[in-house]
């Protein structure tokens, strides 16, 4: 758990981060979202003290960050960088052993952990002897993540972790990371300027501008209850897509136009509208059956009915 209180950072007279406070609960993923220069990266780097705060307090798992030796502090916090920051002269095996060696693990323990992590990240063991320039961008990012996860830190900081990848690789790596067991238990603070990415990865989003927090809340809260005009306009460009991705079939379950009938193929009610429409399109279907596992019931819908239900839902609110 991370608690940030009245945190500030001044560079000369300009305030990069201006008296912000927030909490990240254990196991939660908080995304710091904003345009470049909004202070999100500075905020992130103050958590592991790559940047020293000008004022305020940070505690990680109840311990004051500023009272600890910064090197030792960082060994206990996972850190994933935008351009991965892999050492060009370290093989994958050596890269993964960096933090364990700083923590003075034995070689057997390192080897065991390496093996487990490679498997989880879908990297073949033959990669261990390769150097970063022999890996693709996506593989490099996986190795960068592996390096951060080796010592199993409870907290993970990710700075534009997918920023250097092409859009297609980025989307697939993102999906892969989201489904990693290894990450589900972790408290994660993630920086991005990509709204789609924020909505996809976040439990909660912290939208920042000019060193201040504009709104902090779940993706749905930001979309449907924006705190002010800035928050609303920040999401406007991609509003429809975001909404379709945020509203789940569950939210529309009670809509009158749906007919209760079981059929194949079926998708889970936990899916978003976006996923349902994509599913129809991809499989060239007229209609699809929604399965509601809670009540073990089914409803048959087509695209038209889905969209109608979505707009009704928006109009009368959730």
């Amino acid at each position: 758990m991370i608690v940030v209180e009245h945190l500030s950072k001044h560079f000369g007279k300009t305030a990069a981060v201006d008296d912000i406070s927030f909490e990240v609960k254990e196991g939660e993923t908080l995304v710091l979202l904003g345009t470049s220069g909004c202070g999100k990266t500075t905020t992130l780097k103050m958590i592991n003290r790559l940047t020293e705060p000008s004022g305020g307090r940070i505690s990680v798992n109840g311990k004051d960050v500023l009272a600890q030796n910064p090197d030792r502090l960082r060994r206990g916090i996972g850190y994933v960088l935008q351009n991965n920051g892999l050492f060009p002269h370290y093989s994958v095996a050596e890269t993964m052993a960096i933090v364990p060696k700083l923590l003075k693990w034995g070689q057997t323990k390192i080897n065991e952990r390496t093996k487990i992590l490679l498997e989880k990240l879908h990297l073949p063991e033959s990669y261990l002897s390769l150097y970063p320039n022999e890996l693709s961008g996506g593989q490099q990012q996986r190795v960068g993540l592996a390096r951060a996860l080796m010592a199993d830190p409870p907290v993970l900081l990710m700075d534009e972790a997918f920023g250097a990848l092409d859009p297609i690789t980025r989307a697939s790596i993102r999906r892969e990371f989201k489904n990693l067991d290894e990450l589900k238990r972790k408290t994660i603070v993630m920086v991005t300027h990509d709204v789609q990415e924020a909505f996809e990865m976040a439990d909660r989003i912290c939208l920042m501008d000019a060193g201040k927090i504009k709104q902090i809340g779940t993706p749905a809260e930001l979309l449907f209850n924006p705190a002010d005009a800035f928050v609303a306009s920040f999401l406007d460009d991609q509003r429809l897509q975001l909404e379709l991705k945020t509203v789940s079939l569950n939210d529309l379950w009670d809509d009158a136009s749906f007919t209760g009938e079981k059929s194949v193929p079926e998708i889970s009610a936990a899916s978003s509208i976006w996923e349902a429409v994509s599913f129809l399109q991809k499989n060239n279907l007229k209609q699809v059956c929604i399965h509601q596992p809670k009540t073990n019931s089914w409803k048959l819908v087509n695209a038209e009915e889905l969209m109608h239900a979505f707009f009704t839902h928006k109009k009368f609110g959730s």
Partner: protein, 522 residues
């Protein structure tokens, strides 16, 4: 082909010296290089951390680099004497800049994200330096070491001027003796050393990261090994230390004659004549191969040891003129001969003393002398053609050139251009035969032994007679080169062994045979 044959012969004949010199050369290069790395690397790291000092440190090292190498060696002598110490320090100073600069650049160029990642993983500053920055800066750093190595191999040839050995002994000896094979025997190995070392280091520099990890230890290990070569040659012990010029070392009327005729066995270092006098004065040396009219003889209180077995032939000075110049300038011969018979040994020594020690300009010294001898006439500012005067690169020749210039300007209506400071005998003589100059003052002994390279038979038969030598070179120069020796000026600037007067008196040494006897006593 003939030339190549004899170069090979020379190298075979002198292979022991060649090996010693090559090892000394390598030793000097790498001892200084190691020192430069030991000092330069931490300095480069320090300024990469504290950027505010980078400008001044790099600036200072840059200024050191711009000091001419001979001058830098000169500065070292008052501080460190002669021999390897000043040479190593000078080479070290030259190697410093490329090493500091490349360490600094190499570390700065390490990707900022990689450095941040290293810190983000929890590495301490030292761990970031040794595990990330230095390994990644290694190719740039090696490039700096490579540059410094090549510079040092080149500059180390000059170590021969200050008795530190190296391949410069052959190179500068060869230039003085007009011996192309000797020059090449020094220059070719020096060039090969530079090329081979550059190639080896470039191979290491361009290794892939994986191989670099395996082979990098070769660099320090190799350097240590090569440095140790300097200590391999063991020089014999003797009570006195002699310093001879590279030229003297290779001459029959020099070191070779001393060994053959006198059987003199003395520990010898090779040194430049520019600093030899001061070195003996400051007791770094005991015996030197000086010139009998050198002004510093007087300045430093030195005594000439009499050449009782007459191995040093006479070196009477006279202008050597192109025949076509004598025809083109009919007044020239008469004018140059005005100086004939006017300057004795002691007068020349005194004139040299004024220039070399009192730092009077050669022009003023020449003018004063001519005025005193009532030979001076104001310049006619004539323009009936220009006479080109040459001179070698030492005070006496500058004075003579200035006297001749004044005389020509005063007694004829020719204009004068002077090309003074033409390196050694070979350079001056080549300038004359290639019609770059019309005349220069030369010495009969040099003409006999260096230019004509007269066989031993001839030198043995005429060597001790002033007149016979003059007649011989006059005849041969006319036949072979169409050059005319005019009348001798009067003084004899021969080779001479010299010691501090006090020491010679204390040891009761009057001539070279005394010296030999003294050295052989228990």
């Amino acid at each position: 082909m003939n030339n190549q044959q004899s170069l090979w012969d020379f190298m075979r004949q002198e292979h022991e010296k060649l090996l010693t010199q090559t090892l000394e050369h390598l030793g000097l290069t790498f001892i200084s290089l190691l020192l430069a790395i030991v000092i330069g690397l931490p300095l480069g790291i320090w300024i990469a951390r504290k950027k505010q000092f980078a400008g001044s440190v790099l600036g200072f090292a840059g200024v050191l680099q711009t000091i001419p190498s001979i001058a830098l060696l000169g500065f070292m002598i008052p501080l460190l004497g002669i021999g390897p110490k000043p040479a190593i320090v000078a080479l070290f100073l030259y190697a410093l800049l490329p090493i500091i600069r490349n360490t600094f650049t190499g570390i700065n160029e390490v990707n900022a994200t990689v450095k941040e990642a290293a810190r983000g993983m929890g590495m301490s500053n030292w761990q970031v330096l040794f595990k990330v920055e230095l390994p990644l800066a290694m190719p740039v750093l090696l490039a700096g070491i490579r540059t410094a190595t090549v510079i040092n191999v080149g500059v180390a040839t000059l170590a021969a001027f200050i008795a530190a050995g190296g391949l410069g002994e052959f190179i500068f000896g060869g230039i003085s003796l007009n011996n192309t094979n000797m020059i090449l025997a020094g220059a070719i190995p020096a060039a090969l050393l530079a090329i081979i070392l550059d190639f080896l280091l470039s191979r290491i520099q361009h290794l892939s990261i994986k191989k670099m990890k395996v082979f990098l230890w070769l660099v320090p290990a190799g350097m240590l090994l090569l440095s140790s070569f300097y200590f391999v040659p063991i020089t014999g012990k003797s009570k006195l230390l002699a310093g001879f010029t590279p030229e003297f070392m290779g001459r029959r009327d020099g070191d070779l004659g001393l060994r053959e005729v006198y059987g003199l066995k003395i520990k010898t270092v090779v040194i430049s004549d520019a600093i030899m006098y001061k070195a003996v004065y400051e007791k770094h040396l005991d015996v030197i191969s000086g010139y009998s009219t050198d002004g510093r003889l007087k300045a430093f209180g030195l005594t000439i040891l009499e050449d009782d077995k007459h191995i040093f032939p006479p070196y009477y000075c006279a202008p050597v003129v192109r025949k076509d110049a004598l025809q083109k300038f009919p007044e020239l011969e008469k004018t140059l001969n005005l100086l004939s018979g006017t300057i004795s040994d002691s007068v020349m020594t005194d004139l040299n003393y004024k220039v070399d020690y009192l730092k009077q300009s050669p022009e003023k010294t020449a003018r004063d002398f001519l005025v005193q001898k009532k030979l001076f006439r104001p310049a006619n500012n004539g323009n009936n053609g220009t006479v080109r005067i040459g001179s070698k690169i030492f005070g006496e020749q500058y004075i003579l050139a200035a006297m001749y210039a004044d005389l020509i300007k005063g007694y004829t209506d020719y204009a004068v251009s002077t090309k003074t400071g033409l390196g050694g005998t070979k350079i001056c003589f080549d300038a004359l035969t290639n019609n770059q100059i019309d005349f220069y003052p030369e010495y009969t002994g040099t003409g006999l032994l260096v230019i004509l390279q007269a066989p031993q038979k001839v030198t043995d038969s005429i060597g001790s007679s002033k007149l016979k030598v003059y007649d011989f070179v006059k005849k041969k120069f006319e036949q072979q080169f169409a050059l005319e020796w005019l009348n001798p000026i009067g003084f004899n600037n021969a080779y001479a062994l010299m010691m501090r007067s006090k020491q010679a008196k204390a040891l009761h040494l009057k001539n070279i045979s005394d010296l030999k006897t003294y050295l052989e006593k228990e």
